[in-house]
Amino acid sequence: MRGLVAGYGGVPVVRGVDLALAPGECVALTGANGSGKTTLLRCCLGLVPVLGGEVRLRTRPVGYVPQRHTVAAVPATVAEVVAAGRLAARGPLARFGRAARRADREAVAEALAAVGLAEHARAGIGELSGGQQRRALVARALASRPAVVLLDEPTAGVDTRNRELLARALRAAVDRGTAVLVVTHDVPALSGVVHRVVELAAGRLAPAASDARVPAEVAR
C-alpha cells in the first residue's frame, strides 16, 4: 500500500500509510483502539473504500480472520465452516472429482489440527466457546493454503496454551511463504512469528518499533 487513505462516508480513518508485505513475512499492526488498524486491514480486502493512494494484493488466495463474525449463528459443523473458507476461495467447481475431494478433506483436517480443533471437527460451530471459534476462524483462513493472510485480533479470547498453538500454525504458514498481516494488541502471543511490528496512531504509521523477527524471549 502506498499513501493509502481510507475511511467511511468520505471521512478518512487511515491517513497516508505506506506498507509493503513480502512473501514469508509476518507484520504485526498495533495501536490504540480507534487508531485505524481494522479499517486498514479491511481496506486491503476491499471492504472499506479507498479514498486516496493505492492498495494492491498481488496474489490470491487470501485468508481472512475478521474481528466480528456471524458463523456462530449458522447451523454447521466446524469442519464445514473451515471447508467453506477453502471452497469459497477456490470456486464452487474446484471441489468436483475424487482427487479434489480428498485434497479438500486433507486440507481441512490439517488446518483443524494446526489450531488444535481436530477432535471438534464434527461439533456444531455454535457449540464452541468464543476462543475455540476464533481458532476455527484461523483454520478457515489457513485451509485454502493462502498466499496472504490478514488476521484481526486472532488471539482475542484464546487461552494461553492455544495461543501457542495459533502462533505455531501461523509460523508454519509463514515458513511456507505466506505473507501475514496481523492486527493485535498482544504481540508477545505471536512471538517467534512476527518479523516487524508497526504501530498505527491516529491513522498514520508511527516509526517502526522493530525491523527484525521479535525474539520470543524479548517479547515475553
Binding site: V62, H69, T70, A76, E80, S129, G130, L137, D152
Partner: protein
C-alpha cells in the same frame, strides 16, 4: 382375478389415496417438486435472515400472473419474469442500504399485489381466479404445467447443488466471503432469482400467500434436529417432500384446500420436533451441548461460550 381386471381396477392404495385420478397424480408430483425445491432454497434464505422474502416476491408475482392472463401469455412465464425482476430490485435496494430501504421494498411489494389485483379485474372471464393463485389450486395442474415445473425445479436444484459452497459462504459470513473473492453481489442476486423461481413453482400448490411457509418451516424443523449444514439441507428437503405429498393426500381425504393442508402439515412437523426436543432436553437434564469439557476449577474467563459472534 384376471390380468385384464387387475389393469382395469386400480389397487386399493390408489383408491384410498385418490391417486387413481390423473389430476391427483399430477397434483402429487407438483407438490413433491415444490416440497423438494422450496426448502433447498429456504436453507440459504433462512440462514441469510430473509425468511419472509418469498412473501414479498409472491406479491409481485401476482402482477406477473395477471399480466399473462390479460395478454394471453403463459402466466407461469410472466410470473417468473415479474418475480425475478422483484428479486433483483430488492437486492439492489438492500445493497444500497440507503435511507428508506424498507419503504422502497414496500413500494415494490404492495405495488405488485395491488397492480395484480387490479389487472385481474380485467382478465377475460372463465380463466383461473385470483384465489387460485393466492391460495393455490394444485389439483388443476395440467401436464404442461408439470413439465414447466419439472424444468424449473431441475434447473434450481442443479444451481443450488453446484454453487452450494458460495451460497453457504455468503449466507453464513458475507464479509469473509467478500474478502476472499466470492462474487457476493452476484450470489445474492442469484439467491433472489432462486427464490423467485421457487415462488413461481409454489404458487399453484400452496398459493402466493403461503409460499414462505414451505420455504421456512421445513428448514426451521431441520435446524432443530441436524447439526451440520448438509444435514439441515437433506432433512429440510425430506420434510418438504413429506409435507407436500402428505398434504395432497390428506386434503383428498378431508376435502380441505391443498395449500393450507400442506402448510399445516409442515407446522405440525415443526411442532413435533420442538416438543420432542423439549421433552428430550428435560429428560436428559441440563446437559450442556458444549464441545469441550472444561476443567472444573479455575475456568478461563476468555473461554465463555458465545453464539452470535464477536471475537474481540
Amino acid at each position: 382375478m384376471s390380468a385384464l381386471a387387475l389393469l382395469a381396477d386400480p389397487p386399493a392404495w390408489q383408491v384410498w389415496t385418490g391417486l387413481e385420478h390423473a389430476f391427483m397424480q399430477r397434483a402429487l408430483v407438483a407438490a413433491v417438486l415444490v416440497g423438494l425445491t422450496a426448502p433447498l432454497v429456504g436453507v440459504f434464505v433462512v440462514q441469510r435472515g430473509m425468511a419472509l422474502v418469498g412473501d414479498g416476491i409472491g406479491h409481485v408475482a401476482l402482477a406477473g400472473v395477471a399480466s399473462g392472463l390479460l395478454l394471453g401469455w403463459a402466466p407461469v412465464a410472466t410470473a417468473l419474469v415479474a418475480a425475478c425482476a422483484a428479486a433483483l430490485a430488492m437486492e439492489a435496494v438492500r445493497h444500497r442500504r440507503g435511507t428508506g430501504g424498507d419503504v422502497a421494498l414496500a413500494v415494490i411489494f404492495y405495488g405488485g399485489i395491488a397492480g395484480g389485483v387490479v389487472l385481474m379485474g380485467y382478465a377475460p372471464p372463465g380463466g383461473p381466479t385470483l384465489e387460485s393463485y393466492l391460495f393455490g389450486a394444485v389439483t388443476t395442474t395440467s401436464t404442461a404445467d408439470l413439465v414447466s415445473f419439472a424444468v424449473l425445479a431441475g434447473a434450481l436444484s442443479l444451481v443450488v447443488l453446484v454453487l452450494r459452497p458460495w451460497l453457504f459462504s455468503v449466507t453464513s459470513d458475507e464479509e469473509h466471503a467478500r474478502a476472499t473473492g466470492v462474487p457476493v453481489r452476484l450470489v445474492n442476486g442469484l439467491l433472489g432469482v432462486l427464490v423467485a423461481v421457487t415462488v413461481v413453482l409454489s404458487m399453484r400448490t400452496v398459493g402466493l400467500l403461503l409460499i414462505s411457509a414451505l420455504v421456512v418451516l421445513p428448514v426451521a424443523a431441520a435446524q432443530r434436529v441436524a447439526r451440520s449444514s448438509l444435514g439441515v439441507l437433506v432433512l429440510a428437503c425430506a420434510g418438504g417432500v413429506l409435507a407436500g405429498g402428505g398434504g395432497v393426500v390428506t386434503s383428498y381425504w378431508t376435502g380441505t384446500p391443498t395449500g393450507g393442508t400442506v402448510v399445516l402439515l409442515s407446522l405440525a412437523s415443526l411442532a413435533v420436533v420442538v416438543v420432542t426436543g423439549a421433552v428430550h432436553g428435560r429428560l436428559a437434564g441440563r446437559r450442556p451441548r458444549r464441545a469441550d469439557v472444561r476443567p472444573p476449577a479455575a475456568p478461563d474467563p476468555d473461554e465463555l461460550p458465545v453464539r452470535t459472534g464477536a471475537g474481540g
